[in-house]
Symmetry: none
Subunit: 217 residues, 4 copies
DNA sequence: CATGAATGAGGCTTCATTCAT
DNA sequence: TATGAATGAAGCCTCATTCAT
């Protein structure tokens, strides 16, 4: 967790630091991310980073947790309260997930990186915690769908929630296969607006929504 | 690709080197894997590695490709020629995939690591290539199922193959969620035989086979 | 020497600061002791330390001098005025020295650390001063013994005082050898009361008192 | 322990490295000694040090053990086989110890530093080992004196050996008190030959030999 | 007088790769 | 073809001290 020093920072300075750090961890996996590059990019002294956070891992945890919260706040906020059908619900869910990525590429990519992070001694513990956190978010969505009797009764919530999370990621991967292009390059593509990107990824969402429907009902 | 020097190596020396290198890249992701540790473990000269391979990436590519080929050779070899149903076919497929992991932990883990590897400048190109390679293997399996009319006609092969691959990975993840235990620790658990491990992971396979059936038929 | 700011501090704040600082310099040698840890532990501002003292060395000098004065005040206060024999006198002296350590572990350990500190550019000057200070204390004890004609006439006071000081330290070392245990761990051992500790170290005191008697009479 | 790489080094290069490293650890205590200064002084690459030794501690252990062995080899070699009296024996012993310091200032100082090193987590274990090693050397000397019946029967060997070691160090300290000068500056004083130094320290040796005689017979 | 953020030098260590033998 | 010493950049982190508020 951030030290008080970090929280006392001026809004502007804190924002600049967080932006730079997010981009670093979005571009590189944990081990490859460099604190040196961050301090250089944020134009602060090398020692300062340790005034803000305990160490590299601490900074990483903060950023990842922040990103996860932001993403799920965004999704929860924008989901329709009463989707007419499961299909509509899933479509909305996955679309919002992509929209968040398009609007916040660094946050989105960081979350994807973290999901891919291989267990290792240094991060261990945190990754498990992170996975439980994201699972709990998807569980909420699954809960909502279950309440509306959208989901077959014999499927338990934890499995449904697991499927939601998995299919969310699969959309990006399927897009990569079909477009023969890295999802993350696509996310960062400045020539396309968020809406245009949604348009292009729509068919991948459709395919996986259909598949998931088959699995859930 | 290995240099001729590598191919001229005595069977025994080459095997030892490959074993040690596989274990290193299985234990650590690409960046964290250390050539220093490999040469120490394989008891060869530091320079030798560069007699055998161009550089770290070259060695990595060789090992990963080797592992992928081994795994799919094993699966193709052991799959029933004429499975009675799609369900049986899927169950066999996923079971063999797990069995390979249990019998060849280093190869299995290396492949999982590679699948999780984040795109980066150094590896770029290869990871895409790798993904196409594995996709092509799964495409073969999908092809087989399609020929037997196991799959709905409106689903195209590339999508089916994508689902096969995704669900194969999801089994490991779902196991982690349910057993609250890392799949890879489970794979390496010496107290259990391969058969006992299959027994324990069977229900995760079942769940995902059922879900995939819903998506495919 | 402390700045006026330090002396104007509230009793409670000064005490807390001194306690924490003593523990730090007792646990780590001068170089390894960290002002960062002290301010964190004493819960004061980083800058405050420089309002109280000139710098790290200044703080160290204050603490060490304080500790030395405390120890010798304690010993002088508790020594019998008219010991019957040299043997009794030495035994009392060394016993009190240990008792002080047991009752004030931080002060005792700090003094031991300081005695072991290697001359170096930064501390130079002070260490010599410190050694003269402690020597002067032991000289007083030696003086007392000489007055009572406890010591052979041909032995000069400065040599006797040097022997007193050396043997005082030797007791700790000899205890370490015999008990195969660090004196300082022993001092901090919470399972033993001060009296029990005295009991355990008594034989080391005895041995060295006997040896010193041989040297002095 | 040194890595093979170190042992394979050319005599000249190894000597230069050891010389520089010895001087560094002789001038500074363990923590204050700087590998950076060593590599700069020995004019080698920063990484090279880790080709030779595991880490800083490993290097330190090697140097200290080397120094201890050298010193005691020197003393054992030059001690008279049949000293006429205990007094002569002690005088020889302590004189040789000083002579070694004068002829090998870096080694001598390193040993003194190590004897003063405060227990700390990083070195712990080694310091105890070191103390047992030096104790075993002095025990041999004590043994020799006991065999000749130089020592009172009721004094056990381990105590006698402890006294030998302690008095050996005390000579340096007593010299400091009397000459009001650091022993180590004295050792390094280029204006005096080893013989002249022996002459100047003789009276300190005499005083302590006399005191020790009183304690031992 | 107190605060606490900023500083940047310096600490030890690991790394992939090169190249002379 | 094998060897293994050399390289030096880069890694993370800690430190005592300063200074604007």
């Amino acid at each position: 967790m951030p030290k008080p020093t970090f929280l006392n920072l001026s809004e502007e300075k804190r924002r600049r630091f967080v932006d730079v750090a997010l981009k670093e961890f979005a571009e590189y996996e944990y081990r490859a991310a460099s604190l040196n590059r961050i301090v250089a990019g944020a134009d602060i002294a090398k020692g300062s980073i340790y005034q803000y956070f305990e160490n590299k891992k601490d900074l990483y945890q903060y950023l990842v947790t922040y990103a996860a919260r932001e993403k799920f706040r965004f999704m929860a906020l924008n989901l329709r309260e009463n989707p007419p059908t499961l299909k509509a619900f899933l479509f909305d869910l996955f679309t919002l997930s992509r929209l968040f990525d398009f609007q916040n590429p660094a946050l989105g990519k960081l979350l994807l990186n973290t999901a891919l992070e291989v267990e290792n001694e240094e991060l261990n513990g945190f990754l498990q915690e992170f996975r439980k956190l994201t699972a709990s978010f998807y569980a909420e969505f699954a809960q909502g769908a279950a309440k509306r009797r959208f989901i077959r009764q014999d499927i338990d919530i934890s499995f449904a929630s697991f499927l939601l999370e998995s299919f969310d990621k699969m959309i990006c991967q399927y897009f990569e296969v079909k477009a023969d292009r890295l999802y993350l390059d696509f996310v960062l593509d400045r020539r396309l607006s968020a809406e245009e990107k949604l348009e292009k990824i729509k068919s991948a969402i459709d395919s996986l929504v259909m598949a998931l429907l088959g699995a859930l009902v």
